[in-house]
Amino acid sequence: MKEEAAQASFPRALSTMLGMLSGTQATDKEVRGMMKALPAMSAMMETFMLEPCIREVGLPFLEIQSSYLQNLSNAHKEGKKIAFENFNFPPAILYAMDVVPLSPEVISSFLSIGVPKGIFRFLDYTTGIGIPETMCTAQKGGVGVILSGLIEKPDMVLNMASGSCDTNSKMFDFISEYLHIPFCNIDAPPYWDEGGEMMRYYQQEYRKLVAFLEEQTGNKLDEDKLRQCCKEAKKQDEYVAEIYDLRRAVPNPVPAIFNFMMFGTRFMSSGTPQATKVMETMYEVVKERYKKGEGVLPREKARAGFVYLGHFTMGGEFWRWLEHNGISLIMEGLAILGHQHYTIDTSTVDTMLDSLAGQAHNMIMTKQIRGPLDYPGQWFEDIATLAKDLNLDCAIYLGTMGCKNTWGGIKVLMQMIEEELGIPTLIIHSDTWDDRVTPWPTIRDQIEEFVNTVVVQ
C-alpha cells in the first residue's frame, strides 16, 4: 500500500532531508528541489520550510522532531525506557531522568500534516482492536502507529493529567492494561488554584512520578541534570512570554504556524537546549517582523482566537490559508492558553520539582478544562483575559469529535463569550486529525463565511 510505505519511511525520509538541509541556509529553490526529490517530505517542507521566515525556525524544529523519532528507535538499543505520556505534559523531567517520551498526540499530529491521508489507516486499526470510534483521534492515530509496530512499544505509561479529559486519560489507562505495562497516574485535582491546596495536591502527585520513574529505570534523579533541564525550561518560558507580548501588535507579527511549532516544541522537548534554540529563533524572527510591521497577507482583517485546536490535516493548509487570507491567528488554544501561574526556581531539588509540577499543572487543558467553565482559572477566565489583552475580534472552536469534555461545555462557553465579551463566535463540527468527519474545504468555507459575514462589517 502506498500510504503504508510513506508512513513507514517517514522517519527515515525526515532525517535524510535534515541531513541535506542542516547547516546550510537553504534557498527557496533548494527547498522546492528537495520537495521533488523527497515526495514523502513535500508536505513537511511546504509547511515548515518553504516560507523563508518560517524556514529559519522550521529547520531546528524539524531537527527536534527527527531526534524525537530517533530517540524512540534507538531507545531500547541504548537500554533506555520509553514512556507513553500525554502531550499536555512538559517532558523536561523525563529528559532529566533519561526516559524517552512517546506521546501519541505528537505522532498523530506529524503524520496528519506530513503524510497523505494522514492517520486514517491507524484510526481504523484502533477501531479494529475494539477501541470505540468515538475515542479521540489525537491518541488513536499514535496508538495505531505503535500497536501496528511502526514505533517501538513503550515500557511504561504515564498518565499525567487525569482530570483534564476522560477520553485522553482512559486511553492511557487502557494501553497499560492492553500491553500489560506499568501504569502511573498523576492526578490533576478537580479544581485549579495558584499555589494553594490544589497546586500542593499536584506537587505531591508529581513526587509519585519521580519515585515511579526511579523504580522503573533504576536511575536516580540527578540534581545537576534536573537543574540543566529546569534552566532551559525557564529560558523557553521567557521566550514564549516575549512572543506573547508581541502578539498585541497590529498586525500581529507571529506567523500562524509558529503557534503549532511553539506547543509542538514544548510537548516534544521542553527542557532541552534544542527547544530553547527553536524558541529563541522564533522570538528573533517575530521581533524582526514586528519591526518591519509584517503580518498576515494582504492585511489583518480579523484577529481570530481558536479557543481550542487548529486543523492538522492536509499538509498544514490550515495555517497557510489563514496566513494568506487576512485572518491573524492570535491564539491557538494549545499554544498560549494558561499563561505562567508558576515560576521555575532552580535552588533545590524540591523547588525544582515543585516548579516543574507547577508548569505541568498549568499546561493547556490540564489547567482550564478540569472544572466548571466559570470557576477561577478555568476556560472562560483564560479566554476572557486573552481576548481583552490581545483584542480578539472573534472566537472559533475546532476540536475532535472525541472531545467530550469540550463538547460538553463549548456551546455554553461561546454563549458566555458573545454575551460577556461581545465577540462573535463560531463552532465548527469537525475533527482536527480526521478529514472524514468534515473535509478541510468545508471547514475553510465555514470560517470564511463567518469572518466575512459577522466579523468584518
Partner: protein
Amino acid sequence: MELMEKLVEPAKTLSNPYVEGWREKGGKVIGYSGTYTPEEIIYAAGILPYRIGGREATKVTIADMYFGQVICNFVKCVLENAADGRFDFLDGAIITYECDHMRRIFDAWRRAAKDGNARLPAFFQYYGLPHSRSEHATKLLMAETQRLIKEMEKHFGVEVTEEGLRNAIKVYNKTRQLLRKLYELREKDEVPVTGTEALGIVITSTVMPKDEYNKQLEKLLDELGKRKGITGRPRLMIVGSVNDDIELVKLMEDLGAVVVADSLCYGARCFWNLVEENGDPLQAIVTRYWEHIPCPRMYGEYSRRYSFVRDIARSGKVDGVILENIRFCDLHGMDNTLYGRDLEAEGIPTLRLERQYGPLADSGRLRTRVQAFLERIGG
C-alpha cells in the same frame, strides 16, 4: 405480586408517590448524580437523597442547545427532564464529577436556568473528585465533603451530627445488605426474580425514603423465598454504562433470556460495599464511596473492576455477558474492550452492545443482536 409492583413501579417514572408523600409532609429533597455522592450526609441532614435520571425524556431539544452532538444521551435526557420541569420537586441538586459528560450538567443546567429554559434548584452544588487513590486524595475528598455539608447546613438551616451520620450508616447498610440478599437469590439455579424486576427494585432504592424501602424490601424478600423460580433459560449478566430504563432488560428477557447478575451503577456497584460502622462516621462514609467497586472513571483500577465482574459472572453461573455502553461513553466503551478480551479468554461469551440511550431507538436492531448472541451461547 403487589409488593413487587410497589418496588418496581417507582422505577418507571421520575417522581413517585413516596417522594410526593415526603414533600407533602414538608420534607426536602436533594437530587444527586451518581454512585460517588455520599447519600448518608444528605440523609443525616433530614433530607431525602434522590438520584436524578434520564427516564421519561422523549426528546433532547433543550439539551442540544447546551451540549454538543457527542454528549451521552443519558446526560442530555437528565438536562431535558430539568427543562421540562420533571425535577421541579427538587430543593437542591449535587452534581458529582463522575465523568466529563455528567460534570458538564453543572454548567449546562445553570445556563439553561439563566436562559429561562429550566428551573435551577435553590441549592445547587458541584462535588469535585480526584481520579486515583492516595492519602492526599482521601484528604482532599474529606475536605470537599465537609465543604458540601457546611453548604447544606447553611442553606437548609440543618445540622449534620455525628449521631445522625451513624444512624444514616446503619439504615444505608441495611439497604445494602437487603439488596445483597436479593442478588443472592438471583444466583440460584431457579431464579425467583427477573432481571427486569431486579433493576426496578434497585432504581427504586435510589428514589424513595430508605426506612420505608427497607421495610418493604424485607417483606418482598420473604415472598420471593416462596416464589417459583425460572429455569431452563440462558443466564445473562449485564455490564457497562448507566441504565435506568428497565425496558432494555425486558427486551433481553423477552427474547428468552433471564438476566441474573450485573456490574452496573444502577445495580451491584451502587450497593455492594458497606460502610465501616466503627470509627469516625464521616471518614468511614467518605472512604466507602471512594473505595467502592470503581466506576471506569477511576484510573489504574481495571484489575479491581475486572475481578469483580469475573467473580459475579461465576457466582451467577452466567452463560454470557452483555457489555453495553451508551454511545459516546468512552469510559465504559474502553473497559468493555478489555472485558471482552479477558472474559472470552476465560471461556465466557460476550456481546458488545453500543446503544443510543433513550426511548429504545431501533429496538429491532438491538433485538437482532441479542437474539443472535443467545443463539450463539444456546444450542
